[in-house]
Structures are given as structure tokens and as C-alpha cells.
């Protein structure tokens, strides 16, 4: 970490030296612009925010332009303002809060069920070879069966109620999670484990007091990634077999040719994913202060 920071400072500093006091303002501006596009160059956080804003604004402007120009019929592609209006009436009159709550509840339950079972299995599979041999080839096989293909089976087994949606999220995330957790645990440096062994640690103590805390940042990152997948499977489950939730609203909107609501639904789902991702990043930052750049 410290190495890359030093290098960044060094790269920033050297062109300044070349400029000298007599360099014109324009020349300095030019060299600053060049620096941004250098191979593996750096940006200040303000410059980064500017580019990110442009990245979001460009497709929205394009969208508005295509809409205003009338290239695509409004029925198939409503404009940004139409979508906003529609979103407002969804909140006001069409039970958005209810759709949101039920979807969040399904994702949370499915994800938690997956996490609670996958975490101990991953820890054990990443630590003990026989457990790895017992679990991993089987899981590897199952994870190649698309979770979507389990929908009919889950409906037969769990009915059309909440359980079938939770089961689909579970099937979509659990097997991957076990394999990824096991990988995270395997990346704990052997020297840390052996150091604890020479200090008299038992297998159990080393598992709880060395392997788990050592792997914790990677385990949380795996949670962040798999939670994203859980959202995908939620929408699949709600589109195929539900009568409530965000995914169902999108499907229903299609039946009534409400493209504006489809757009609103997609954007909402995207935002929820973004928010949850940022929350987990913040949690990572708060829980593991020792990983911050010094």
C-alpha cells in the first residue's frame, strides 16, 4: 500500500519541477490534462466525481434526445420526465412502499439463510482437506445448474407463497457462496496459522481466532458480491411466480403496456443495488480500519 502511494506522489511531483516558476498558466493546465490520461495515471477525487457525473449524465441526455426527436414511439420508450412522473404516482397511489418492503424482505431472508449455512461450510471446506473434497466437487456441479431452472421445482415443493421466492434466492447464491467463502479462507497466509500453532493454539482456537478474523475482509467482500446476485434472483422469482414485489410490478406493467413503469422499476432496482453496495463498502471500511491506505 505504502509503495503505491509513494509512487503516486513521485509521479505528481516530477512534472512540477520541470515546469518551474516561469511556466505559463496555460502550459500548466495542459500538462495537468495530460497527466490524467497517462498510463495508469491518477485523478483527484474532484476530477473523479466530474467524470463519474458525465458517465451518468450522458446516457440520460441521449435518452432525452432520442425521446424528444421522436425516433422511437413514446409507447415503447417514454422520456426521463415521464418516468419520473410515473414513479411519483407509483409512490403515491400504486403501493410502491409495499412492493419495496416485500422485495427487500425476500432478499434479506433468502440471503441470510444462504449466509448462515454457507459460512460454516466455507470455513470448514477452506480449512480441512477432507471437507473440501466432500463439498467442493459436488457444489461445483450444482452451481452450473442455472438457478432459474429450479423455479418449477421450487414452486412444486414450496408452493406459490413466500418460501418459493426465498428458496430460489437461496439456490442462486448458496452454492457459489460456499465455494467463494472456502477460497477466501484458503487465502489466509499459512504463516499466520503456523505462528499460532507454535504459540500453542488448538485447531478450534486457530479457526476462530486466526483464520476467521484473517479472512473476514474477504468474506465480507464475497457477501457484497453475492448480495448483488440475490437481487437478480429475486427479480427472476418475482417475474416468474409472484403477485407482489418490484419484479412483479415490472411484469404487470408490461401486461398493461406501461413502459414508463417498467423503466421506473428497472431504475429503482438499480438504485437499491447501488445503495446496498455502498452500505456494505462503508461497513467494510468501518470494520477493518487496518486495511485503509496509510
Amino acid at each position: 500500500m505504502s509503495v503505491s502511494t509513494t509512487r503516486a506522489i513521485w509521479m505528481d511531483a516530477s512534472p512540477l519541477k520541470l515546469d518551474g516558476p516561469q511556466a505559463t498558466k496555460a502550459a500548466r493546465e495542459q500538462s495537468r490534462a495530460k497527466r490524467q490520461w497517462r498510463l495508469r495515471g491518477t485523478l483527484t477525487s474532484r476530477q473523479y466525481a466530474l467524470y463519474a457525473f458525465l458517465g451518468v449524465a450522458t446516457p440520460i441526455l441521449l435518452w432525452a434526445f432520442v425521446n424528444e426527436a421522436g425516433i422511437v414511439p413514446k409507447m415503447f420508450m417514454p422520456g426521463p420526465l415521464d418516468v419520473l412522473k410515473r414513479f411519483w404516482s407509483w409512490i403515491a397511489n400504486e403501493g410502491f412502499a409495499g412492493d419495496l418492503t416485500i422485495s427487500v424482505q425476500r432478499v434479506s431472508l433468502g440471503f441470510l439463510a444462504s449466509l448462515i449455512i454457507a459460512l460454516p461450510l466455507g470455513l470448514v471446506a477452506g480449512t480441512f482437506k477432507p471437507a473440501e473434497a466432500f463439498l467442493e466437487p459436488a457444489m461445483d456441479f450444482i452451481r452450473y445448474m442455472p438457478a432459474v431452472a429450479f423455479v418449477p421445482l421450487m414452486m412444486l415443493w414450496c408452493g406459490v407463497g413466500e418460501n418459493s421466492k426465498i428458496a430460489i434466492i437461496f439456490v442462486g447464491t448458496f452454492f457459489q457462496m460456499v465455494l467463494m467463502f472456502a477460497d477466501d479462507v484458503r487465502k489466509v497466509p499459512m504463516q499466520q496459522i503456523e505462528a499460532a500453532q507454535t504459540m500453542g493454539g488448538t485447531r478450534r482456537e486457530i479457526l476462530y481466532k486466526v483464520i476467521f478474523p484473517s479472512a473476514a475482509p474477504a468474506l465480507l467482500t464475497t457477501c457484497r458480491i453475492t448480495l448483488g446476485w440475490a437481487w437478480t434472483y429475486l427479480v427472476v422469482a418475482e417475474i416468474v411466480a409472484a403477485n407482489s414485489g418490484l419484479g412483479y410490478s415490472v411484469l404487470k406493467a408490461q401486461r398493461f403496456l406501461q413502459t414508463d413503469k417498467i423503466f421506473a422499476g428497472l431504475i429503482v432496482i438499480g438504485f437499491l443495488g447501488l445503495i446496498q453496495d455502498q452500505l456494505l463498502r462503508a461497513l467494510h471500511h468501518a470494520l477493518f480500519p487496518y486495511l485503509r491506505r496509510q
Partner: protein, 276 residues
């Protein structure tokens, strides 16, 4: 003098690409209590494997290892180990790393409060012994490689082990830091009176630190020669350029080359250049 470590007829082989690979072939070695024994040899001579067997991290296929007269069965708190790198716990501060062993049940307390207090004092004095008092609340990622190894040494000393096993502990450090660390280790050992078994590939380091230097030959690993280092117990920088020291360094390096059967014919290099 009693022997702190007694290695008797140890064999070890690993599964290699072409069948079993004999790494240690009937290795026997006695290390007297309070001595600093360094082990050198070409790569593949099994020096690290031998150290790991003494640590209890690997088991021998044959032979026995006695520590303090008792046969070892796995790792134990009487034998601390310092690794080359990555052995500190990154989520713990310097002080917490040094005090890590208190989290383990291997430490039993008669009077918890009193002994914990004593432990904290010992940790603080060890951290100051390795010169890192100002950094005790930092995380390992905030320290340089040399500072991290100082902490690893302080942590190894924490449980007052009779033996410290060191597996190329300075191998990842730059040359200047390495020399500073060598003097630090000598000072610490003098103060604590610990027996040291120290594996390195650096002949100068082996001679500067060791009262005895054990040279191992590779394929299969065997003890080749044991050199007594003719230097006073208290070492200092000047000895690195002492003629006797340099002579022994040359002898050991040549012997290592002989054990690999790798005596480079340098005149051949000259003839290539002349031909071109």
C-alpha cells in the same frame, strides 16, 4: 552442558513429480543450551524442513527429535518460531500481536489479574527492547518490513521459550536493515539467554550470528560440515571485515558450491567473449 535440541537420525521425504523425493537423509544434530546455531546450505538441502520438524510443524518419517530431553509431539510453547514474513496478524495492533498468546488456552492462569498485569509489562518491555515503543498502537501494515520482523521477534520472546527457531527471518529485508536486525537479535538473545536455531542462505549472516555454523548438502539433505566460529561471543560490525572471518566465509561459500557440484569455470566465460 545439556542439549537443548537433539535430532537423531531424522528422515523426511515429500511426494515430487518423479516419485518420492528424499529431503532429509539420516540427519543428526545436537544443539547445546544457550548457543546460537545457524544452518546454511544450497536451496533444496532441507534446512527449512529440518527447522520445521523441530518446530513440530512437519513430522519426520523416521528418527526422533528431543527438546529438553523429551521427544516432541507437534508444536509447543517451549519452541517459538519467527517466519520470513506474513506471520503477524494484520487486524491486531503491534501490542496486541505481541500479546496474542494470551488469547489461547495454552496459557493457563492461577491468578488472572496479577499474571495479566505481569504479561502486559513484559510485552511493553519487549516492544521497547526491539525499539518500537512509539509504534505499539499501529497496525502491521503501517510498519516497514524490518519493523514487522522486530515485532515477530518480540512476539516469539513473549512466552519465554527456551528455544527460538528462525526461518530466514531477514530474507525479505534490504541489506542495511538486515545488518541492523542481526545486531538486534544478538542483543536480544544475550539478554534473554535463549537457544537459537537459525536457518539462512546468507553465509555472512550465518557466520556473524552463529557460535556454530551447520552446513547442509542437498539432494538428499545431509549435514556436511559443522564450523565453530572463532569470534568472541560479543560480535560487532568490525568483525565482518576481520581477515579470519572473511577466510571462513570464503571456505564455507566454496564448500556450499562444492556440495551442489557447481564450480563455475569462469575462463569459459572469457573464451565466449573472445570468440564473439
Amino acid at each position: 552442558m545439556t542439549n537443548a535440541i537433539e535430532i537423531k537420525g531424522v528422515f523426511k521425504s515429500f511426494d515430487g513429480k518423479r516419485g518420492r523425493n528424499l529431503v532429509l537423509d539420516d540427519v543428526s544434530l545436537s544443539i547445546a543450551a544457550g548457543t546460537f546455531v545457524t544452518i546454511v546450505g544450497a536451496s533444496g538441502c532441507g534446512k527449512s524442513t529440518l527447522l520445521r520438524i523441530v518446530a513440530g510443524l512437519e513430522s519426520a518419517d523416521g528418527g526422533i527429535v528431543l527438546v529438553g530431553g523429551k521427544e516432541i509431539a507437534g508444536p509447543g510453547v517451549d519452541r517459538a518460531m519467527v517466519f520470513q514474513d506474513y506471520s503477524l496478524f494484520p487486524w491486531l495492533t503491534v501490542a496486541q500481536n505481541v500479546l496474542f498468546s494470551r488469547r489461547l488456552s495454552a496459557n493457563k492462569y492461577d491468578n488472572l489479574a496479577l499474571e495479566r498485569d505481569a504479561e502486559e509489562k513484559r510485552a511493553a518491555s519487549l516492544i521497547s527492547l526491539v525499539g518500537l515503543s512509539a509504534s505499539q498502537d499501529l497496525y502491521p501494515s503501517q510498519l516497514s518490513g524490518g519493523m514487522r520482523q522486530r515485532i515477530a521477534i518480540a512476539r516469539a520472546l513473549m512466552s519465554k521459550p527456551s528455544i527460538i527457531l528462525m526461518d530466514e527471518p531477514f530474507g525479505a529485508l534490504d541489506a542495511q536493515t538486515r545488518e541492523v536486525m542481526q545486531d538486534l537479535v544478538l542483543d536480544v538473545v544475550e539478554q534473554e539467554g535463549t537457544t537459537i536455531m537459525f536457518v539462512t542462505h546468507d553465509v555472512e549472516e550465518a557466520l556473524y550470528l552463529g557460535t556454530q555454523v551447520v552446513l547442509m548438502s542437498p539432494h538428499p539433505g545431509r549435514i556436511d560440515t559443522i564450523y565453530d566460529v572463532p569470534l568472541p561471543k560479543k560480535r560487532d560490525e568490525q568483525m565482518r571485515i576481520d581477515p579470519q572471518f572473511l577466510q571462513l566465509k570464503r571456505t564455507v561459500m566454496e564448500r556450499i558450491r562444492d556440495t551442489v557440484g557447481l564450480s563455475l569455470d569462469r575462463s569459459a566465460v572469457g573464451s565466449i567473449e573472445a570468440g564473439a
